[in-house]
Symmetry: C2
Subunit: 387 residues, 2 copies
Amino acid sequence: MSADLSSHLSGLRFTVDYHLTGTEAETRANAEVLCIEQTVEAPLEILPAGPIREQVLGRVENFTSCAACRHEAVISYPVELLDGTCAQLLNVVFGMSSLKPSIRLARLHLPDEILKGWPGPRFGRAGLRRLVGVPQRPLVCGVLKPLGLAPADLAELAYQFALGGVDLVKDDQGLADHSFCPFEERVARCVEAVARANQETGRICLYVPHVTGPWEALRRRSLFAKQAGAGGLLICPGLVGFDTLRDVARDEAIALPIVSHPALLGSFIVSHESGLAPSVVFGQLPRLAGADASIYPIYDVGYAVSREDCRVVAFAAAEPMGALKPIFPTAAGRMGLDRAREMSELYGSEVLFILGSGLQRHEEGLVKACRTFVDLVARFSQQPAKA
Amino acid sequence: MSADLSSHLSGLRFTVDYHLTGTEAETRANAEVLCIEQTVEAPLEILPAGPIREQVLGRVENFTSCAACRHEAVISYPVELLDGTCAQLLNVVFGMSSLKPSIRLARLHLPDEILKGWPGPRFGRAGLRRLVGVPQRPLVCGVLKPLGLAPADLAELAYQFALGGVDLVKDDQGLADHSFCPFEERVARCVEAVARANQETGRICLYVPHVTGPWEALRRRSLFAKQAGAGGLLICPGLVGFDTLRDVARDEAIALPIVSHPALLGSFIVSHESGLAPSVVFGQLPRLAGADASIYPIYDVGYAVSREDCRVVAFAAAEPMGALKPIFPTAAGRMGLDRAREMSELYGSEVLFILGSGLQRHEEGLVKACRTFVDLVARFSQQPAKA
């Protein structure tokens, strides 16, 4: 048996950075427990001698203090535990440790041999830029709100956004398939409205409907949206699992850009001593799953996200990761003209901005306010980013 | 438009209890913000007069102080925002608030009119008891570990557990479809081994393989398990979404008991000031989705779960909830003979115990140790539970 297991293990391992809170003695002990609980999850005494102990078990590859009471352990696992799905990746790296109060998953390091099995984003930054015909400046996205409006009203709003020169118009994630705003009617009307505006402007704005739901409904909605002429899809992986997003991204019958929304994902980041780092949950995971843009909140709007978090998510969205395309960090949270400069300087030009709905009541009118916002971020993003 | 929306809203609302941390002034303000962010997610100024303001918006129905710096707000939403899926339920009640550091979802209250649309558990406690022929005592489940063993070795372990008189034998959630332990071979061998033991004991032990994966793989594995003669399925809703569990529970071609596993769900409970209460994530949600048993950790084994948490999850697993069947709170975490009395007294007889793998090395041998454990919990569970 042991010989047989050995023949299945290549010796190649991948590593994960964990931040551990506590004294050095506590955190060293916790790192050793983590190696067990994330793999064999059994007392060492019951492990047979040989490859289970020597290779299947997690292994502490490095242990450093990074600040008072916070330690970083780099732990490795055999690549053969993975199977190319987000479910199994998260299971191996954090399934049981999610229940621990002082362990945070800080970063995934997957070797190229493993990343080969992850196609990732179909479009990525360059692909999305080609679709909307905008080679350089930040992209801008309007949102169809509030929940409660009828499809015709949302379509009128979509028309105005598109006339204002935004690159995408997306559904609010609160829009589902409600009796007062049925999915298919909404999609048909908004596609038509955006196409009409595009004819007037000569530009290309994409309409991105929200398709989150159980797998069958989500796929049916995605295919309907594709047929109807939608330009992308909005999916909440926190509500349906990252593999659902992955499966849509790989689906040749759909083949649309995917915008990931953070609904319910906040619980992974709110406690700084546990859960997943924002760069993992809003950067590495959506990119691995195949999102082309990943929405997360900006700072100073009441969410548990700091300016530094925004910066590191943006970094994770584009850092070298096998052949995976860089994706758009997508900054959201009541963004109006007042924050255009600050955010453009932080992100530079490689960002997608979600407009706050306050713009609907802007004194200039929505169309003009959108134009002003696009102009401002185009201009300010040329300034060097401040660290 | 407004008139049209009104005609879609019945006036029936469901309520959710939230725990808010902060001063009374802060938490009252946060409750009002929550009403907005979970529904229209837009400044009040852009809302048209009429039913969006009057009915779609969340509404604070009650606000009480429950302890220093912790306040409880009961907030209602129109039932028409829901669609019978877990994704939309979680979206409406906690999608954006998950990103807030001081808001915890404490309890869902769904009216019977809504619960009619949720079939919930197919078997529940009574159904699972009928399947294994055990009318009264706690049920007991062995686990196939450690990861790294070949199917033949796991099958031998399953045989011994079943010979020892446990009611279920489940895969460890670490077992996927690895080259060194392929899913189909494991299932076929374990089903055969448990059936052989059942013939010897004259009892009925169910084998419960782990089927978590992206929807297509999960459904294929579930159907294979059903065909092969497995007695239940182990699913991790934290990895694949609660609707995936729901869809399997409703699937007439599968129709097997479902055991829910907490992998990755820990991040929702680790911070006491944010996320979801354990009774929601391990009690209400798995039950709504259709799990027949919900695994969560016992206290004092290093996980962020208290004795009181264990008690309230068990309560949520059985409290009146429309026509939904009560399910088994399923207590796990290195449980050996040493904790049989304490846990039986806490839970009484309506519990499923997961045996710790330490029992594999028990001096009496695994088969005898299982028998002893089953006898002990049968006896001690007859004592009145201590509060």
